[in-house]
């Protein structure tokens, strides 16, 4: 009888898991992929470093070059463009030019080449656009001597796209954002309780951050007697956000009209801070109008969504500590509002849409160097339907716990005791073992690790042996 029950349970679990997997993969995944594809242009779907050659190095050029080009082309807006130079290792130490890609018109780009004669016949020819803007840069004067546009045939005379990195880079979209906080300096409105904060425009191209202070504050009004904005500096700080703690990575001061540049090392959560400081004596000890001007904190997630590119406005608000915090809107729709309206079709569609967004971001991130995004993305998407309690919680809770097993750190366990009114504290045993057993404990851990490794290797070998006979279905039956 027990055996019968066991068999029935096994059959049910097999049926349940199989149904779950089949339904999810055959229905949800294609639907989600469809949603993800229609929500992203095809060019984005293939804009991944997966298609690049690793030996192609790309660096951003100096701000001076942008300003020089902007002078020659009054209609040109540097914020809409991506600038970089490239070295093509296949053709020696030639600089193949300063490149410009218009983020608003991805099909248009220019090679701003100052060594065209040398490279014209050696680098190769490429063309993907019929109308290409171009300019020639004089490396000595750092000015653009020739500007214009060319047709597809004219493009054939330009140095080409043999550096594979260039081919993919031109498709890479740039994330461009502006902070929304725009409260006027309280000095103009003494009755206002709100603090003023600098408004920041920033863009991210892969790991490269560029940020500018937009002059929404009239700095000359801040302290009487100042003559111009050169008396002020913007102090930029980049911090890595670990959740409970933040780690300062970089602090740098620029003039108000200078671009702040920082290259993120990894994907992850970062906080960019911009503070206005007066260059009084002794600089920078005096923070201007501290009670009126707040530093602005911008939360920047560098992840798959960054690579997908976007243009938007971050939402900012003053918090209880007097700081102005800005965060981008979540990529995921809030499905919990549909929950209250009992809109099953809309709610399920909302969740599936979020899942599609998740997959789209996943697609971008898979081919990028770091995968720290997983936990943040997961928490972000689950937040969108967290209010929905039910049977899924019972299934998910142990899975979440198992997933955290590998990273579970040991801390003192506090167990509240009934009727006593105090807690039972159980200290972390690893510390005690290390203190009292020392090398013996290390030896024990080494032996245990060895046994586990042996067991795992045997298990892998046994699993691999099952593949010897391709007609053998026991592997599925055994595990499902």
């Amino acid at each position: 009888m027990v055996k019968g029950i066991k068999n029935k349970c096994a059959s049910f679990s097999q049926f349940f898991v199989t149904s779950l997997v089949v339904f999810s993969l055959l229905v949800s995944l294609p639907l989600s992929l469809f949603l993800s594809v229609i929500s992203a242009p095809p060019a984005k779907a293939f804009s991944s470093s997966f298609f690049t050659l690793p030996e192609c190095t790309v660096e951003f050029d100096e701000v001076a070059a942008i300003e020089s080009y902007a002078t020659a082309n009054p209609a040109f807006d540097p914020q809409d463009s991506v600038w970089y130079t490239a070295q093509d290792p296949d053709f020696g130490p030639h600089d193949i030019g300063l490149w410009w890609v218009d983020a608003n018109a991805p099909g248009e780009y220019a090679i701003l080449d100052h060594n065209e004669t040398t490279l014209e016949n050696s680098v190769g020819i490429g063309s993907t656009s019929s109308n290409v803007n171009f300019a020639l840069l004089n490396p000595t004067t750092e000015e653009f001597e020739t500007t214009g546009s060319t047709s597809g045939s004219g493009w054939g005379q330009r140095p080409g796209l043999t550096c594979a990195n260039m081919i993919s880079e031109k498709f890479m979209d740039v994330l461009q954002r502006t902070t929304s906080y725009d409260t006027a300096y309280p000095g103009d409105n003494p009755d206002s309780d709100e603090k003023a904060a600098p408004r920041i425009t920033y863009s991210i191209d892969q790991f490269q951050l560029r940020a500018n202070y937009e002059e929404n504050l009239d700095l000359n009004d801040l302290i009487e007697g100042t003559e111009n904005d050169s008396n002020y500096k913007i102090v930029w700080t980049v911090q890595e956000d670990h959740g409970d703690t933040v780690e300062t990575l970089f602090t740098y001061a620029t003039m108000p009209d200078e671009t702040f540049k920082y290259k993120f090392n990894y994907q992850g959560a970062y906080v960019l801070t911009a503070t206005v400081l007066w260059r009084g004596t002794p600089y920078p000890a005096l923070s201007i109008a501290e009670e009126d001007i707040a530093p602005i904190f911008i939360v920047i997630p560098v992840d798959g969504s960054t690579y997908a590119g976007d243009t938007g406005v971050d939402t900012c608000a003053e918090n209880s500590e007097g700081y102005v915090w800005c965060e981008a809107q979540s990529e995921y729709e809030d499905c919990s509002t549909l929950f209250g309206d009992f809109d099953i079709v809309g709610g399920f569609g909302c969740v599936l849409g979020n899942f599609g967004t998740f997959l789209r971001i996943l697609f971008f991130t898979i081919f990028t160097p770091n995968t720290r995004w997983i936990s943040t993305q997961f928490s972000k998407i689950t937040e969108s339907f967290n209010d929905n309690e039910g049977i899924s919680d019972v299934i998910v809770a142990p899975l979440e716990s198992i997933a955290t097993l590998t990273t579970a750190g040991c801390s003192t366990a506090n167990i509240p005791l009934p009727f006593v009114g105090s807690n039972l504290q159980l200290p972390c045993m690893t510390t005690i073992y290390n203190t009292y057993l020392g090398a013996l404990f290390t030896l024990y851990q080494t032996i245990v690790t060895g046994i586990i490794s042996y067991y795992v290797i045997l298990g892998f070998l046994a699993t691999a042996k099952g593949f010897k006979d391709p007609q053998n279905d026991r592997i599925e039956a055994a595990s499902l």
Binding site: L20, I374, T382, S392, D393, T406, A413
Partner: protein, 101 residues
């Protein structure tokens, strides 16, 4: 996090996400028509959460190093998801055979 940890967390998160998405309509029905049942389910989940919150201390009692735990979890994750991969390969092959002119 090591690569092994990342892979484990990634696989589990994907499975959790799938479960949440698939059971969303069921949860919606339960919470709308039988909210007390939803609360009961949540209580079970809360109980499991509390139980598992001491897992770090329990592991420390055994003295098993974290790499050992990671290996065990990775092995069982691999072993339990392998049939799905094999099943998909066979499904793809059967489709190929069916569609083959």
């Amino acid at each position: 996090m090591s690569i092994v940890d990342l892979l484990i967390v990634g696989v589990f998160n994907l499975v959790i996400l799938l479960i949440k998405v698939l059971l969303y309509p069921v949860d919606l029905l339960i919470n709308t028509f039988i909210p007390s049942l939803g609360t009961a389910f949540s209580s079970i989940a809360d109980f499991l959460d509390i139980t598992f919150s001491y897992i770090g201390w329990a592991i420390s009692v055994t003295g098993i190093p974290s790499i050992g735990i990671a290996l065990i979890v990775a092995y069982w994750t691999f072993k339990l998801t392998l049939p799905i991969q094999v099943w998909f390969m066979k499904l793809a092959l059967s489709w190929y055979r069916t569609l083959k002119p």
